[in-house]
């Protein structure tokens, strides 16, 4: 379910903001977010995400992308309380970083 919302949300982040007030040809054709993150950066994040186990992936997507609060996340992730959800997110993020740092 999370993935579905996320895919919907995603479609609109792929080609983000236009550099409206820039004049220089260097920055005009590239959106600030393209430059800020870059397709390659987003691809690396995605790849690392895919290496995680499902529960970790849900924790990352739920918190970082969909901005659920920990209380809501606790229900989604099946954790007893908000604090347990917080710990789950931190640990999932640590594992995501291991993949990113290794790759």
């Amino acid at each position: 379910m999370l993935n579905r919302i996320r895919d919907e949300a995603r479609r609109f982040t792929r080609r983000p903001a236009a550099a409206e007030l820039t004049d220089s040809y260097e920055s005009e054709a590239a959106s600030p977010l393209d430059i800020a993150i870059g397709r390659e950066g987003v691809a690396r994040y995605e790849a690392a995400l895919q290496l995680l186990r499902a529960s970790d992936r849900e924790a990352i997507i739920g918190r970082l992308e969909l901005q659920y609060d920990y209380q809501e996340l606790a229900v989604i992730l099946g954790k007893p309380n908000a604090n347990a959800a917080r710990v789950a997110v931190t640990r999932a993020l640590a594992r995501l970083m291991e993949h990113l740092n290794a790759g």
Partner: protein, 861 residues
């Protein structure tokens, strides 16, 4: 190298979207591997940030809604209760306003989500009800009953209108001694009643305390409550508020409730906690190490009696705390300044005597952030008039939504509408929506400081979907929060039918002007009085478009265009939607997403139509001006439109930015710098505004000042790509081509994505630095990719590269081609120092003449 615990807290900051000083981390990294770790983490933080600022498309929202609906549909009735409206929803369930026809009264109904009734929450809910039903006290929410009906567990209780203490804190910041002490006494009374019934609450914390309109404090949500003699078993409640003996696994007691109350009061006064930790374990460690904050250190201004009372409640040893809630209330009472010498503000008057009459309202729980109705809060009522009349510069944080039926995109679009309505009032200066991009959601105090404004216009919008009898309505509560005192100095409610939010925004702008004792010019009054009704659906689409084109939505031109088109399908006479579509086309053209000729034609048609429908539309004039400038090279008409647009809305950062570009391209540098300076002051947090200012100095060939100005943007966004890119240009002017190349590569590294413009810049600078082989290899690769249509490379890109390689004739031919292609960037050729090598070429003069640019501007040193 960061300690393990610090690294964890860094991860948590990223997860919570908290500020991280990446530059400091980068600088502190001992090894390149460590630096890579931080950069990777920053990448993740950026992805999260992107999602935070993203306004979900309607499809996405409805996808979320579908999922939600699948779990639980809103019932029409539940048992003997008729369900009227959904007030809030959270992870465990939803809260409705409902009508009890047997007793003819409105109640709050809390229904558990259908899919989670299988485990703990049902028992929890029923025990919550049993617990509460035993207690009757003005400061404790009255529960009428609980049951499982139609297969769903629910609990119905008294409606309480107001907001939770934590929502209040987020809106107003920490409290003063008097307010906190008053709340403390009320809660002592509530706990005394709870304890007298042989119960403990177990989860005393700000989200579980409501402040009703009028000031009554109500303790609610006994989710973690239990009978005093029950077994412990597991930790319930919120860790920061839990007494150490409960954290250690012991059962909650009357003493632990008083400890939690102590933490609550500590939090009201400081917005922080005596003990903090990342999780229960680290919190236990903090208690064990007595690693804590002291109230006296954080608030030296508080009366000693109050500090002592709270610290006593926070004693680690339960035996050293107050023996009862009554004893604690007595202590708070003693430390309380007598009422005679300081009148409590409106908000703190608590009136238990009135309580039986108070029944209508909304109930909220820990899951609900804030519910409508704010209390006018003022510590400085005496000089409110003076404060108001001094307000001239205003920022508008994102409109808050309350209740169901208001989408994020709608709120963001409405915010842009408000900004543009206020911008039309000449005596007011309004910060652009983009200025709040990075600081939206921060405490009011920080926003005020960062933007240097006199006041914030805070707004809450709620709506109803309407029925057969009544059309859907929109209701907005607007408040002015003064910068100096952080007090709400003005508040007013507005409402109107959906589909006319422009009129609503205009009405608010006019009322704000009156509130700050300003006077509208007749023209402004006429414009603000105009209103146009459209359908709620067209309005929804239009506002979503606005939010996409504005910074709140990430400036997504594609999605913006779709939304505006949807609005126009529903209402072809929507002037602002035509202007919005024009702006989206211009942006798509500039981004290379659409061929120039096509972008121009579409944008022009939309802009003209918008102005036919509404000749006073500032945005319509601004976008038409931009089209005349970059595509038509029609300087006089462009300038007339810019001036008209800025006359209609002097605070439009969009018009200011384009106009500054226009003036600079024509070599009118001093005027350009003056306009750019206005834009810069309007948005002091914008590194773009600062960089543009530096860029115009560069075109003016005032390189030393340009570099100095550029440095000012560094602290705002230390890792931004634009910074090294512009620095590279400056290095080039000094003949430091290796330096320029290094900066360009730094930009490429920061971008972590080899976008075409950056690759072009790199190849150019390789050529300039005499690394011809590298440059040619890069060029070949670029052209190959362009040929296979993997990327789009423009004639002007190749022109800049050929010039750097020393092929002047080839470069001129390519620039000629760019002119034929109507490339909007050729307007810069008159002033761009990078083409100075061509300034003596007759064919280049011809190019400038074709565009209509003055020859020789660029040579003025």
């Amino acid at each position: 190298m960061l300690a393990e615990r610090d690294y964890e807290s860094l991860l948590e900051s990223v997860a919570d979207g908290a500020q991280v000083d990446w530059a400091a981390l980068d600088a502190a990294a001992a090894t390149s591997a460590e630096r890579t770790r931080y950069r990777n983490l920053r990448l993740v933080a950026r992805v999260a940030e992107l999602h935070r600022t993203l306004v979900l498309d309607q499809d996405a929202e409805s996808a979320a809604a579908r999922i939600d609906e699948a779990a639980v549909a809103d019932p029409v009735a539940w048992g003997h209760l008729r369900v009227m409206a959904r007030m809030a929803s959270g992870a465990f369930g939803r809260i409705y306003r409902a009508h009890d026809s047997q007793l003819n009264r409105d109640v709050a109904l809390k229904l558990l989500r259908g899919d989670i009734t299988l485990y703990r929450p049902v028992d929890r809910l029923l025990s919550e009800a049993r617990t509460l039903a035993q207690v009757r006290h003005p400061n404790v929410v009255t529960v009428y009953g609980a049951d499982v009906r139609d297969g769903r567990a629910g609990l119905w209780m008294e409606l309480v209108e107001g907001q939770t203490l934590d929502a209040w804190l987020s809106a107003h910041g920490r409290m003063g001694a008097r307010e906190a002490a008053t709340i403390g006494m009320d809660l002592c009374g509530a706990l005394a009643a709870v304890h007298a019934a042989g119960l403990v609450h177990g989860d005393v914390k700000p989200p579980n305390v409501m402040r009703e309109n009028g000031g009554r404090i109500v303790l609610m949500d006994f989710g973690a409550g239990r009978a005093q003699d029950a077994d412990g078993g597991g930790v319930a409640g919120t860790p920061m508020y839990l007494a150490p003996e409960v954290l250690a696994g012991g059962p909650p007691t009357t003493e632990s409730d008083l400890y939690s109350l102590g933490v609550l009061l500590f939090h009201l006064l400081t917005r922080t906690f005596p003990f903090t930790g990342l999780d229960v374990d680290s919190l236990r460690d903090a208690h064990a190490d007595a690693d804590r904050r002291w109230l006296r250190d954080l608030r030296p201004d508080l009366p000693s009696e109050l500090v002592q009372t709270i610290e006593r409640a926070l004693e680690t040893d339960p035996a050293r705390r107050f023996t009862s809630a009554g004893a604690m209330e007595q202590a708070l009472q003693r430390g309380f300044v007598p009422l005679a010498d300081a009148r409590p503000s409106e908000a703190t008057v608590h009136a238990p005597s009135r309580w039986p009459q108070l029944s209508f309202a909304v109930m909220a729980t820990a899951l609900v952030a804030a519910v409508v109705a704010l209390v006018i809060w003022s510590r400085t009522t005496s000089n409110r008039g003076t404060v108001l009349s001094n307000i001239r510069t205003i920022a508008v944080p994102m409109v808050e939504t309350s209740g169901p039926g208001i989408r994020t995109g709608f709120a963001a679009g409405l915010t842009e509408e408000l900004i543009s309505s206020l911008g039309q009032v000449h005596i007011l200066t309004v910060k652009p929506g983009s200025s709040l991009g990075s600081i939206n959601g921060k405490p009011d105090k920080e926003i005020v400081r960062a933007l240097d404004v006199d006041a914030l216009l805070k707004t809450t919008v709620s709506g109803s979907d309407g029925s057969d009898a009544a059309p859907p309505q929109l209701k907005v509560r607007a408040r002015l929060l003064a910068a100096g005192t952080q007090a709400i100095v003005w508040s007013q409610d507005f409402d109107g039918p959906r589909g006319n939010s422009g009129a609503l925004a205009n009405a608010i702008a006019a009322a704000v002007t009156r509130a700050v004792q300003g006077v509208l010019t007749p023209a402004e009054a006429t414009r603000l009085a105009s209103s146009r009704q459209t359908s709620p659906q067209a309005e929804e689409a239009f506002l979503a478009g606005r939010s996409y084109i504005g910074r709140y939505g990430g400036g997504n031109a594609d999605a913006a265009l779709k939304s505006f088109q949807r609005a126009l399908e529903l209402d072809s006479q929507h002037a602002a939607a035509h202007a919005g579509a024009a702006r989206a086309y211009v942006t798509l053209g500039a981004n290379g997403a659409m061929p120039n000729a096509q972008a121009r034609a579409a944008a022009l048609a939309e802009a003209q139509q918008s102005l036919e429908l509404d000749p006073n539309l500032a945005d319509g004039h601004a976008v038409l001006a931009h089209i005349r400038f970059v595509y038509d090279w029609d300087w006089p008409r462009a300038e007339a439109e810019f001036i008209r647009s800025l006359d209609l809305n002097p605070s439009s950062s969009f018009a200011l930015g384009y106009y500054a570009n226009f003036l600079a391209a024509l070599g009118r540098f001093d005027e350009s710098l003056s306009v750019a300076d206005t834009a810069r002051q309007l948005d002091p947090q914008s590194s773009d505004a600062i960089r543009n200012y530096a860029l115009y100095l560069y075109y003016k060939r005032d390189y030393a000042r340009a570099e100095r100005e550029l440095l000012k943007s560094a602290p705002l966004e230390p890792n931004e790509v634009g910074l090294p890119l512009l620095r590279a240009r400056f290095a080039e002017t000094r003949g430091d081509f290796e330096g320029a190349l290094a900066d360009t590569r730094e930009a490429l590294r920061r971008s972590s994505g080899p976008v075409v413009p950056l690759r072009v810049a790199e190849i150019r600078r390789e050529a300039l630095a005499g690394r011809k082989a590298e440059a040619l290899a890069g060029l070949t690769k670029l052209q190959h990719e362009a040929d296979t249509r993997a990327i789009r490379v423009y004639a002007r890109d190749l022109a800049y590269i050929q010039l750097a390689l020393g092929n002047k004739t080839k470069a001129i031919e390519l620039f000629e081609e760019a002119v034929n292609e109507m490339d909007p960037t050729v307007v810069w050729l008159g002033v761009d120092p990078r083409v100075d090598a061509l300034r003596d070429e007759p064919r280049f003069h011809q190019i400038l003449k074709t565009i209509g640019l003055p020859v020789g501007v660029g040579k003025a040193r």
